[in-house]
């Protein structure tokens, strides 16, 4: 089966319905690795996993 970045991203829950023709063209040019990267970041943000030593000036989380 041919790799279709739009399908892959949609399957991962990344909504591109509002993307215009030009943006969809860019999406179609994404490599499998680039799509995998976006999907992995999407998953991490949804899980809310902390990853940075956030903090910060004054002991506060900014």
């Amino acid at each position: 089966m041919t790799f279709d970045p739009l399908d892959e991203l949609a399957r991962a829950g990344i909504d591109l319905t509002l993307a215009g023709p030009e943006q969809r063209e860019v999406v179609r040019s994404l490599s499998e690795a680039e799509v995998a990267l976006l999907v992995s970041i999407h998953g991490q943000l949804r899980e809310g996993s902390p990853e940075v030593e956030a903090h910060i000036v004054g002991g506060l989380l900014f």
Partner: protein, 383 residues
């Protein structure tokens, strides 16, 4: 300005600027990330005032966050900065340890009045210095005046009994009208002096709760391969198996105690000189906001850090610290292709979609993430 609105801006590059206007603080909290003391460094207010004076209605941050040390040790400067920012249309938030509670001296009241949001820092260490009831007395008075308020709480982690107790009491005391951002004590500043960090028991001595979260000291990264599955070379296509973990902290310029402006507020970046080249945005005594903003927005390295994070960018080996990798970064950012621009936009949009609650969940103490929405009109009341 509600805390949710402030946190929603967090992933937006140059949406705000942090100003650490003094390292001094009269409190001696055991966990202080800035190692602040009453005699710590403090630089002329003119440096900060000059920089705020370069904000214009057409080119300004949305928010100026005044912090320290204890920013309200310089109430006249804090007030002046808030008023200067307001003239350009920028809003101001003050973060304080509230050494003055339960009274509010006139000069401090003036500074708080000039700001759009006031946040009180509270945790078990602070409570050894300033009683909770004193902090509450000030917050009650400010709430009665209609001030937008928040609490910034820190504890050892999700199971910390202190956090359960203090969040419940704040909800009761203020009838869910004041939002809370709950974070975890990190081994920075005085908290780094001895690990694990023992948390005091409110009202008594000794330790309580857990030690600082394992791995927090070095920001240990998730196991390689947990995220990135890409192959090939470069950040976008994957350098080995280093995970892609975007950094939302490389978004707001931070004016350090001496006026040096860095691209993030990590304490080691703020404290150490020289600042790594890719994280230095300028100096408040010499550069204007427009220049700093432009550097923040256009730096290829910062854009890549916000999109891929330092581990992927550096091709870091498993177990390498997140912020440590960033500070030592020497990688060349990927070329700015249409695909790279798309990835950058999508990652930013994903973070924006999470809003204030999403930010608090990622960077704070997850079980308490929703407390940032207390008092917000859009809050779901069944939570």
């Amino acid at each position: 300005m509600h805390l949710m609105d402030i946190l929603a801006l967090r992933p937006v590059p140059a949406a705000a600027v942090l100003m650490a206007i003094t390292r001094r603080c009269p409190l001696r909290c055991g966990h202080c990330s800035t190692g602040s003391l009453p005699g710590s460094e403090e630089h002329p207010g003119e440096i900060f005032q000059r920089f705020a004076g370069t904000f214009t209605p057409a080119n300004r941050p949305e928010l100026v966050m005044l912090t320290g040390g204890e920013p309200l040790l310089r109430p006249r400067l804090a007030r002046s900065l808030a008023e200067t920012a307001a003239r350009s249309g920028a809003r101001t938030m003050i973060l304080s340890g509230m050494f003055f509670a339960p009274r509010i001296p006139a000069s401090i009241a003036g500074a708080i009045e000039a700001a759009d949001h006031f946040s009180a820092s509270l945790d078990a260490f602070h409570e050894e210095e300033v009683p909770r009831r004193s902090v509450f007395a000030v917050m009650r008075a400010l709430l009665a005046r209609g001030k937008d308020l928040s609490f910034h709480l820190t504890g050892s982690g999700p199971d910390d009994p202190y956090l359960r107790d203090v969040t419940a009491e704040i909800r009761r005391e203020f009838h869910d009208r004041i939002p809370m951002l709950v974070g975890r004590v990190r081994p920075v500043g005085r908290a780094r002096a001895g690990a694990p960090v023992p948390l005091p028991v409110p009202g008594g001595g000794g330790a309580a709760g857990e030690s600082a979260a394992p791995g927090a000291e070095t920001g240990t990264a998730p196991a390689a391969g947990s995220a990135g599955t890409a192959t090939g070379s470069g950040a976008a296509t994957g350098s080995g198996a280093a995970p892609a973990l975007p950094c939302a902290m490389a978004a707001w310029p931070t004016v350090g105690f001496d006026g040096t402006i860095t691209a993030c507020c990590n304490q080691d970046v703020v404290d150490h000189r020289p600042v790594p080249g890719h994280l230095r945005l300028g100096h408040a005594g010499a550069d204007d906001w427009s220049t700093v903003r432009e550097r923040c927005l256009t730096s290829g390295t910062l854009r890549a850090l916000r999109t891929y994070g330092p581990l992927r960018l550096a091709g870091a080996p498993p177990g390498r610290g997140y912020c440590e990798t960033c500070r030592e970064l020497e990688a060349t950012p990927p070329p700015h292709t249409p695909a790279a621009a798309f990835l950058e936009r999508r990652v930013r949009d994903m973070q924006l979609a999470g809003g204030g609650v999403g930010f608090a969940g990622r960077y704070g103490c997850p079980p308490y993430g929703d407390l940032v929405s207390l008092g917000h009109p859009w809050r779901k009341h069944d939570l």
